[in-house]
């Protein structure tokens, strides 16, 4: 298997603008090409698009409006982990030798059809994500004594981080009291415990070891990948205070990268809701089960940015098909030492956890400088 590097990145601002999906993607592609002076459209032999939008033939459209004639082009859709899955697909094309340079671009509109999974008979009329996240929250509260304040700390921390992310949806911070007193959506979820659906786009260029040399002096290598899908329906994840798919995907990724949780210097985890970050830092092995709330509280109190330095989904916004790619962009920039005010010092090894539909599926990448 050939080595695969991330070389260049592109982002748009995340907001509520009413922009066509192909236009959003073109903006991120332009941002990437603007930052990559040695890159020509002729170098790109794969174009993959990631979105839950109902557009047809989108990868060919984006290729044409970007002036690219790729060998391989198609879309990837897997609800909220479409982004990481599209990068993993591009990795596979390059690692196998089918391609040398791949452009992956993800985007979503604020009114995405991917916000609700109509198919899931298990959820009955309770299809909106606030219902599954209430079940996760209640279960963690019951088993480990997690409090409303613990949940609010996740949101306060990630809004703080997002203030240094120029592309983030949120441009302000919130106190723990403001978050705890925000609107009760259910007994267990408040408005500011939720990520915000929005419009936005993110792009990444991947290259083989040989092709990379022309493009960058600071490659970031994909050294570990793990993916696990339990089901599409919510209720197959039997232990509600854990994410079985994340545990499975993490085990695979650590094994492939020959790394342990303690080796990870910086991580982007999928905080669709506050409870998700608490469960994920446990299930990724950063801390013992039931200690996620204490771990996140310490990060907040010490202004430690190693988890969700760009603000996560709660601070940066959640344009579904772009989210996993934006997470990988952040860790890529961190490992290149180009994250500006968000920079985590001495970051050499990073992790991205991107999941979908109540953690029925998870995708994890381990990256190294």
């Amino acid at each position: 298997m050939r080595k695969v590097a991330l070389t260049d990145f592109g982002l748009t601002e995340f907001n509520k603008d009413d922009i066509a999906i192909d236009s959003l993607m073109l903006s991120a592609v332009k941002s990437l090409f603007d930052s990559a002076p040695n890159l020509s459209q002729k170098d790109v032999d794969v174009v993959l698009t990631s979105t839950n939008d109902n557009s047809k033939y989108l990868s060919s459209i984006v290729s044409e409006i970007s002036g690219i004639r790729p060998k391989i082009s198609h879309s990837v859709e897997s609800l909220c982990n479409s982004g990481a899955n599209s990068v993993i697909s591009a990795f596979s094309y390059i690692a196998s030798g089918l391609a040398d340079v791949a452009l992956v671009v993800g985007a979503e509109r604020f009114d995405s059809p991917g916000l609700v999974l109509e198919w899931d008979k298990s959820r009955g009329q309770y299809k909106h994500p606030i219902y599954w996240s209430s079940m996760f929250t209640k279960s963690h509260v019951r088993k480990y004594g997690t409090t409303k304040e613990d949940l609010a700390i996740v949101s306060a921390k990630n809004h703080n981080h997002a203030l240094d992310n120029p592309c983030a949806y949120f441009k302000k911070t919130y106190s723990i009291d403001e978050i705890m007193n925000s609107k009760n959506l259910t007994d267990d979820i408040r408005l500011l415990d939720c990520s915000m659906p929005c419009s936005g786009s993110a792009a990444i260029l991947l290259a083989s070891e040989e092709a990379m040399k022309k493009l960058t002096d600071s490659p970031v290598w994909i050294t570990g990948i793990g993916q696990k899908t339990l089901s599409a329906g919510f209720t197959k994840n039997e232990e509600l205070a854990s994410m079985e798919s994340t545990i499975g995907a993490a085990t695979m990724a650590y094994k492939m990268a020959k790394k342990k949780p303690g080796d990870i210097d910086v991580a982007e985890v999928h905080d669709a809701f506050s409870i998700c970050e608490i469960i994920e830092v446990e299930d990724l092995g950063f801390v013992r089960k039931g200690k996620g709330n204490e771990f996140v509280r310490t990060l907040y109190e010490t202004n430690d940015r190693r988890i969700n330095p760009r603000g996560g989904l709660i601070g940066a916004g959640h344009p579904l098909g772009a989210t996993g790619i934006a997470q990988i962009v952040e860790i890529g920039q961190q490992l290149q030492g180009k994250a500006g005010k968000r920079q985590v010092s001495q970051a050499r090894v990073g992790l991205v956890q991107n999941m979908s539909a109540a953690a029925t599926s998870s995708s994890i990448l381990i990256l190294e400088s």
Binding site: E118, K121, S122, R123, G124, Q125, Y126, K127, I130, Y131, S134, M135, T137, K138, S139, R142, L185, T186, D187, D188, G233, F234, T235, K236, E238, L240
Partner: protein, 107 residues
């Protein structure tokens, strides 16, 4: 419309069961998701147990488990604070824009 949805419209909770491995197939479908065996459709016991719950406004919603295999979400009628593992009954099911289940705690 599937037999599952047709049943719900008549307040009947039915699911497919594999003729080979005798297990319920969830979500219900025309072939077994363990062995791809043929299925028959049969009523599911309406007696279950509470897995987890929360509340939105004045409505309690929950996950309920039936026949130790099928977990579904629905609303829960209760006059006291529910206890995890408590017995409940499916008192009404229907299908309008989506599946609707109403459970009641057994005291």
């Amino acid at each position: 419309m599937t037999k599952f949805e047709e049943g719900l419209k008549k307040d009947e909770f039915v699911c497919s069961e594999c003729l080979t491995c005798k297990k319920l197939v969830w979500p219900p479908n025309n072939f077994c998701n363990r062995c791809f065996g043929a299925v028959k459709w049969r009523p599911v016991s309406r007696c279950g147990k509470l897995v987890e719950f929360s509340k939105k406004d004045e409505t309690v919603f929950c996950i309920a488990e039936f026949e130790n295999e099928i977990r579904i979400m629905g609303s829960l009628k209760c006059s006291c604070v529910p206890v995890i593992g408590q017995s409940l009954k499916l008192v009404k099911c229907s299908h309008n824009e989506s599946e609707e289940f109403v459970f009641q705690l057994v005291i």
